[in-house]
């Protein structure tokens, strides 16, 4: 009878079905509509750039982990997500080597140098975008948004808004679908596709509604107060991509519910300060990166009330 080979372990003895890999795969599924729009609008080079980013990210991760003699965890799909997001943040005119350098920076410096998955204090794809923007400003902005149709303008809607050239502004419907002559980074042109993906993540319980909804609402309200069209502001630039897929990065956003609300309002506020009075036409990336830095602090001050702990008791303890 005692020849049974029984495992002895501490409870619980059952685990939920999901895993880090399944969560990352769902994020990739959610990014597919925007990828499809990118392929349709910008052509094959858009897909190739995203593929270059993905491959560079995965290879970089594998090499670094091998060098550091750590288990190679590329099968958790997190490097793939970083790759797709970085690809989405590049202009269609970006050369292949920019994609590679950005990927290496995102994975090697921003992610692995700080301890790998879950330990990065900034969103790797966004940090890489900021790095590329600072290093090759011309290759990363206006002139790189090569038009695919024969429209004359090459400026992004937010740049038009900033310079006051409202005559060449695409219609709000075009901004929403992104299918017809709207310029921007590869993955950010279609608000519709990004909202679809974002809703999928919220329904699957992978992200909370708090960060994207409050972020977007804050932007809309400030636009309204500033006397500008809130729809143009929320459908243009990187807001949808940023709100649903970048600001919600687990590692660099607060985990507490109250913290997420403060963080999202902060993102919206900084985005609009940059858009309305800053030098750049777009402020989504920098607003998220700045709020990433505040996330640990916000978290510390927004802990939930612990069951059974009353204020008097807490003070007595302190």
């Amino acid at each position: 009878m005692n020849d049974l080979k029984l495992t002895v372990s501490s409870s619980p003895h059952i685990r939920a079905n999901h895993s880090t890999a399944s969560i990352m795969q769902n994020v990739i599924i959610a990014l597919l509509p925007a990828l499809a729009v990118a392929g349709y609008v910008f052509g094959v080079w858009a897909l190739a750039l995203v593929a270059i980013c993905v491959i560079s990210c995965v290879v970089t991760e594998a090499i670094i982990q091998k060098l550091l003699k750590k288990p190679v965890t590329i099968n958790d799909w997190s490097a793939v997500v970083t790759g797709v997001l970085l690809g989405f943040n590049l202009p269609i005119g970006a050369p292949w080597w920019i994609a590679v350098i950005g990927s290496v920076f995102a994975i090697a410096i921003v992610k692995q140098c700080f301890g790998g998955l879950g330990q990065n204090f900034m969103n790797p794809a966004l940090a890489a975008r900021a790095f590329l923007l600072a290093s090759w400003p011309t290759r990363m902005t206006s002139t790189a948004y090569i038009p695919v149709s024969d429209t004359v303008t090459t400026a992004t809607p937010l740049a038009l808004l900033k310079s006051g050239e409202l005559a060449s502004m695409p219609t709000t419907l075009d901004l929403f679908t992104g299918l017809n002559g709207v310029y921007g980074c590869i993955g950010e042109i279609s608000a519709l596709a990004l909202i679809l993906g974002g809703l999928y993540l919220i329904i699957r319980g992978i992200i909370s509604w708090r960060i994207p909804v409050i972020y977007i609402a804050t932007v809309a309200v400030i636009a309204l107060v500033a006397g500008q069209d809130p729809l143009v502001h929320i459908f243009s630039g990187g807001l949808m991509l940023g709100a649903f897929f970048m600001a919600t990065d687990y590692a660099s956003s607060p985990v507490t519910a109250k913290g997420q609300i403060i963080y999202a309002i902060g993102c919206g506020l900084i985005t609009m300060i940059i858009r309305l009075i800053g030098g750049y036409p777009e402020g989504v990336s920098y607003s998220i990166l700045l709020m990433n830095l505040t996330a640990p602090l916000i978290e510390r001050f927004t802990k939930d009330k612990v069951y059974g702990v009353t204020k008097a008791k807490k003070e007595a303890k302190a």
């Binding site: 009878m1 005692n2 049974l4 080979k5 029984l6 495992t7 002895v8 372990s9 501490s10 409870s11 619980p12 003895h13 059952i14 685990r15 939920a16 999901h18 895993s19 880090t20 399944s22 969560i23 965890t73 958790d76 997190s78 301890g115 790998g116 998955l117 879950g118 330990q119 687990y250 590692a251 985990v255 507490t256 802990k303 939930d304 009330k305 612990v306 069951y307 059974g308 702990v309 009353t310 008791k313």
Partner: protein, 443 residues
Amino acid sequence: MDVKHGTFKGGIHPPYGKESTAGVPLGFGDAPKVVTIPMSLHIGAPCTPVVKKGDQVYLGQKIGEANGFVSAPIHASVSGKVIAVEEKPHPNGDLVMSVVIESDGQDTVDPAIKPYGSLSEMEPDAIKKMILDAGIVGLGGATFPTHVKLAIPPDKHVDCIVLNGAECEPYLTADHHLMLTKPEKVVMGLKIAMKSVGVSKGYIGVEDNKNDAIEALVKAAGSDTGIEVYSLHTKYPQGAEKQLITAVTGREVPSGGLPADAGVVVMNVGTAAQIAETMETGMPLYKRNLTCTGDAIKNPQTLEVRVGVELQSVIDQCGGFASDPGKVIMGGPMMGVTQFQTNVPVIKGTSGILCLTVESAKIPEPSNCIHCGKCMTVCPIHLQPLYLSEYSQRNRWDKCEQNNVMDCIECGSCSFICPAKRTLISSIRVAKREIIAQRRKGN
């Protein structure tokens, strides 16, 4: 009677796995040839054996004397001959002094046992003594001596009793079957307990995946206005003491306190039914319902089994193993204790024997925390398991304590939900043990 609905914030929805035994009628364990009764069947001081090898014992005769206040006497679960009084393997993993009785198959009841009479004739103190003498302990699994629970310290004010029929542990249907087969006993036991502590309000909380049990209890409670049945949202850990109290009364048990600090005494429905049974027949606690189930069991079933019966013989009665078992768990999958071997006895707290196949018993490889915060969302105490676990792994017990680690009820929801398969609850347990050890040293 209106059935009110209650719930708490947090919790998880594990796969329930109750279908395989909920629909099968309650079975009865085969009469055992030998029973091994450990002298530790409860939380508290172990008993001293009062029989010796060669003695003849009756069914229901006291064989272990309680030592101290937090303890409960132990009785023979068969009639027959004591063949050994020695250390035997216990489900907690230790060797424990045990009385081994060879059954004569007669089940001759101890002639000293007689019914206690009716509730109206019994005074509160007599009820408490009856509960102590019958060795009644919490049958939900914690096995805390019931007479201790009912002895309310004079500085605390209790105004209601809540019966726990939530049975939120997946797979288990022991309480479900009990509430279906003995609803009037559950209600009677509640009334007895209410009289013993002098309260006029009693609640029974049952998860809403057991609507048939809720109906049966409502019917059994009849027009009694002092008793209310609550339908609780099906969610783990709905049956955890604190969560149950909050779901039913809306009160919170203060941190570090007992239910009595919230004016409540909580008791399992099985415990209540046993109290009623004892008053009616005089018989002590010597048998209980348990669910023998899991994907490694051929014919899963809930059975009424005597204390002291070997797990293996219960498993055999349920058709044996369908395939090689990887884990044998006493209790449910969320909080149950894994066993090294199947030759340990059923004890008073054995609510289930869960056998998982080698495949289901595989322990997943943990990876980096991705900071998703799911553990925090599900924590019924609203702690931050991700950080507590990190502090614990760095031996920062001070940080653990500051962040209320001692309030953790060890329900395991955090480990269940973690997508990175981190062993959150294990490291939190380590921190709790360390802090308790340090406090002892400090004193």
